[in-house]
């Protein structure tokens, strides 16, 4: 973290590590946070610039076999790239390690992620999940920015080795995501040869649909491989064009299908396969197609064919194969509002479980607030899974001092049983009122416990968040939301 005398400006080093089905990549970015408010206003901190300062080589994800990731080898890659970038883990302020695609399903992914968090610096978070992956890919590819610039709806499909992650963006905001279990590495072929070395489960479903029953060691012809790739491509196109998908597409969808109850203005592809959609690759032989030991290039070609058959002209992305890792490195972190209340000593806090105590806005009486908060906390604490709990809410209908004071009283009483020396009271509000709400809470709690009250962050029931150490002279905290609320599923507007 670079410190300058100018309190209006600070840069933060963020690292993204993506351990995917086929490839493992690292990027280092420099995020600039500035006070954008005029001198005479209450400060308003904003992320004003994100610059990628180091891109790693694209490594094949080290696997012991098809099931187990080689954790040591991954750690070696990370260490080597840190050296290349001239970084030590201590210099890293924030970022995300994500285990994506097929790799995320493998049993040891969790352990990898945990060992990586220690290696990669103090506040690099461990996270996975298809929805988040779809969002990060769309942000990294430039689809989110495209939709914001054009005030339009841009759909991004990141086709990797194991999955196709779809993120739909409107005016820069994600509105929907989906994930399809189709990727270029689901069928592995001897590199520059024509012998099948591995067939994954989802690929077997595709083969079954094509009436093929290949086994490891078989040597299929190019035309047969093409027909398999074409069916995969059809499933992808179907997913982004219709809500009523065929049974095979439905089987391969890892999420509900897209609603698509809006007009899509542009379609963008990213991921390793995308290079073969935008390039002029023509398959001539199986040994040419198997350059990377899989059918990725062929899948790219097939998507291109299906797109032209459907009359769709895709938009060019800013990044293809690096989209997800750039998303993880530069776009996973957000910052809180600029007037907040935090007891610095308790930060950072990781893996905070979010609960929304109020279904329909903040109740009228402090008694009802207390009951709702208590019930919400109990629901989470009773199953023993959550160590830290954050109470999320939109805030009082009208941010008056009286309303805030009442809210604080209700929350403090309702949460009383769950606050202790090492368990601070964490409140996340949408409206700009965290400073006054925090002030009221601190006065009510006294020395019973610490308070972390932040605003201008939208989270909902079931989300997990990480809250970092304060930056910009203690004015804001970095926040990483690890699962995301969407208009369709998480329409929690209280």
């Amino acid at each position: 973290m670079s410190k300058t005398n100018d309190t209006n400006y600070q840069t933060v080093i963020s690292v993204g590590i993506d351990i995917g089905t086929t490839t493992t990549q690292i990027v280092v970015s420099r995020i600039t946070i500035r006070n954008t408010a005029p001198g005479s206003s209450v400060p308003r901190m904003e992320i004003t610039d994100k610059e990628v300062v180091h891109r790693s080589k694209i490594y094949f994800t080290p696997l012991r076999d098809h099931q187990i990731i080689d954790a040591d080898a991954v750690a070696q890659i990370v260490l080597r790239e840190y050296r290349e970038a001239g970084l030590t883990p201590e210099q890293v302020d924030t970022g995300a390690v994500i285990v994506t695609g097929e790799t995320a399903k493998k049993e040891n992914a969790k352990n990898i992620v945990e060992s990586m968090a220690g290696l990669a610096g103090d506040f690099v978070v461990a996270t996975a999940g298809v929805n988040l992956e779809s969002v990060l890919a769309g942000k990294g590819s430039g689809a989110a920015a495209h939709s914001r610039e054009k005030h339009s709806v841009t759909l991004n499909i990141d086709i990797g080795g194991g999955t196709s992650n779809i993120g739909v963006f409107k005016n820069g905001q994600v509105i929907e995501t989906a994930c399809l279990n189709i990727g270029g590495h689901l069928i592995e072929v001897e590199r520059q040869g024509d012998r099948i070395t591995y067939i994954s489960e989802p690929a077997r479903a595709i083969l079954r649909e094509c009436g093929l029953s290949w086994q490891t060691g078989d040597m299929p012809g190019l035309d047969e491989l093409k027909s398999v790739a074409r069916l995969m491509a059809k499933c992808i196109i179907e997913t982004i064009t219709t809500e009523n998908v065929s049974s095979i597409t439905g089987e391969l969808l890892m999420t509900p299908p897209l609603r698509l109850d809006y007009r899509v203005d542009s379609i963008m592809f990213s991921g390793g396969v995308a290079d073969f959609i935008y390039g002029d690759f023509r398959p001539v032989s199986v040994s040419q197609v198997s350059e990377y030991g899989d059918i990725g290039p062929l899948l790219g070609w097939a998507v291109k064919e299906e797109l032209s058959a459907a009359g769709i002209v895709p938009e060019k992305p800013g990044e293809t194969i690096r989209a997800t890792v750039i998303g993880a490195g530069a776009h996973s972190v957000d910052i809180s509002g600029s007037t907040i209340t935090v007891d610095k000593a308790v930060l950072p806090i990781r893996n905070v479980t979010v609960v929304s105590p109020f279904v329909k806005g903040v109740p009228e009486s402090p008694g009802e607030i207390t009951t709702a908060v208590h019930r919400a906390a109990q629901r989470i604490i009773s199953d023993g899974s959550a160590q830290f709990v954050a109470f999320a809410m939109a805030g009082p209908a009208e941010v008056s001092f009286a309303a805030v004071q009442e809210l604080a009283q209700g929350i403090a009483q309702g949460a009383a049983d769950f606050i202790s020396r090492d368990k601070p009271l964490i409140v996340v509000v949408e409206k700009d009122c965290a400073k006054i709400l925090g002030q009221c809470l601190k006065i009510i709690l006294g020395d019973k416990g610490e308070v972390v009250c932040i605003d201008q962050i939208v989270v909902g029931e079931g989300d997990y968040i990480d809250i970092g150490k304060p930056i910009m002279g203690g004015r804001v905290v970095p926040v990483v939301v690890k699962t995301l609320v969407f208009e369709n599923t998480g329409a929690r507007k209280d």
């Binding site: 209450v42 005030h151 007037t339 009122c433 400073k435």
Partner: protein, 303 residues
């Protein structure tokens, strides 16, 4: 600065016209302002239109998009969300549409009212603030002679000496400045938030009171009189056409005869559409703590 003083000049001119129309001044050109007044709805002259319940005229809502068949509706929506400015309201020939014009005039009238109306006695009673006058005898003199708004009246000085706690760490003033309506809109949330935060931090807060026809500089007079370490003025900002209810907080550390404007720390734009008043109050607590610690305000604080 140039733009600001131009703006001030414009408002002063309008205020003078208004005074003339209300018969408070000998001359002026009433015809020029007659039209807007009619358009905004004729009403009892001493009341703002928004408080007259039986007013048959509704002020047009300009939050919508009036452009017929826009090329990119989404883009206009995003732009309208980003600013309260009068955009996306289309036109009638080369002129604004009637609704847009009426709203403009209504906003203008509201800005005028913010300057002219006094903070009500009921409000001061409710907030438990006593009233102190400056050397300015009335609104007209207050507007024409800025220096008089910076000095307390003799009786005012006396009243402050009698009623206020001496040598406070922080003295809070509520000053009407150029918008009485901003005081009524924001002080009920800023003042308790500020007092609560300061008191909780163990800071000795003096007796707050209200200054009528006051300007920013009057805080120096009060500071010296009470030997206050820090004086905070919550003062009505010169109203604009977006809001007439914006308030500022001016903070000075240990004012004396050498105090200059650069010694003041200021936070402007306190209103529901800017920094919400309760939040601003809590923010001011932090700033005042820093000022007390650094024993300096304004540019000296930033060094």
């Amino acid at each position: 600065m140039a733009a600001e003083s131009q703006m001030e000049q414009l408002i002063v001119e309008n205020v003078m016209k208004e005074l003339a129309k209300r018969g408070l001044m000998g001359n002026g050109s009433p015809n020029q302002v007659e039209m807007p007044e009619k358009a905004a709805g004729a009403q009892p002259k001493t009341e703002p239109y928004r408080e007259s319940g039986d007013d048959p005229l509704t002020i047009p809502d300009i939050t919508g998009i009036w452009v017929p068949n826009p090329e990119n509706l989404e883009a206009i929506k995003v732009m309208k969300q980003a600013t309260p400015a009068r955009i996306g309201l289309y036109r009638a020939g080369t002129r604004p549409k009637t609704g847009a014009m009426l709203k403009f005039m209504a906003d203008h009238a509201q800005a005028m009212d913010a300057v002219f109306l006094d903070v009500s006695e009921e409000f001061l009673q409710k907030m438990n603030l006593f009233l102190v006058d400056t050397m300015a005898q009335d609104k007209e003199e207050f507007l024409k002679r800025p220096e008089l708004g910076r000095k307390l009246s003799r009786e005012g000085e006396k009243m402050i000496k009698e009623k206020c706690e001496k040598n406070p760490q922080v003295q809070i003033l509520v000053v009407d400045g150029l918008s009485s309506s901003s005081i009524e809109a924001n002080v009920p949330d800023v003042l308790p938030a500020l007092t609560q935060g300061l008191t909780a931090a163990g800071i000795k807060v003096g007796t707050p009171f209200f200054i009528k026809n006051g300007r920013v500089g009057v805080q120096d007079h009060v500071g010296k009189l009470l030997n206050a370490e820090v004086v905070v003025s919550l003062i009505g900002e010169r109203p604009g056409l977006v809001t007439a209810d914006s308030m500022s907080a001016y903070i000075i550390y240990s004012p004396d005869e050498n105090t200059v404007e650069a010694d003041r720390t200021v936070f402007s734009n306190i209103h529901q559409g800017g920094t919400p008043p309760a939040e601003a109050g809590a923010h001011l607590v932090d700033v005042i703590k820093r000022i007390l610690q650094a024993k300096a305000s304004g540019m000296k604080l930033n060094q």
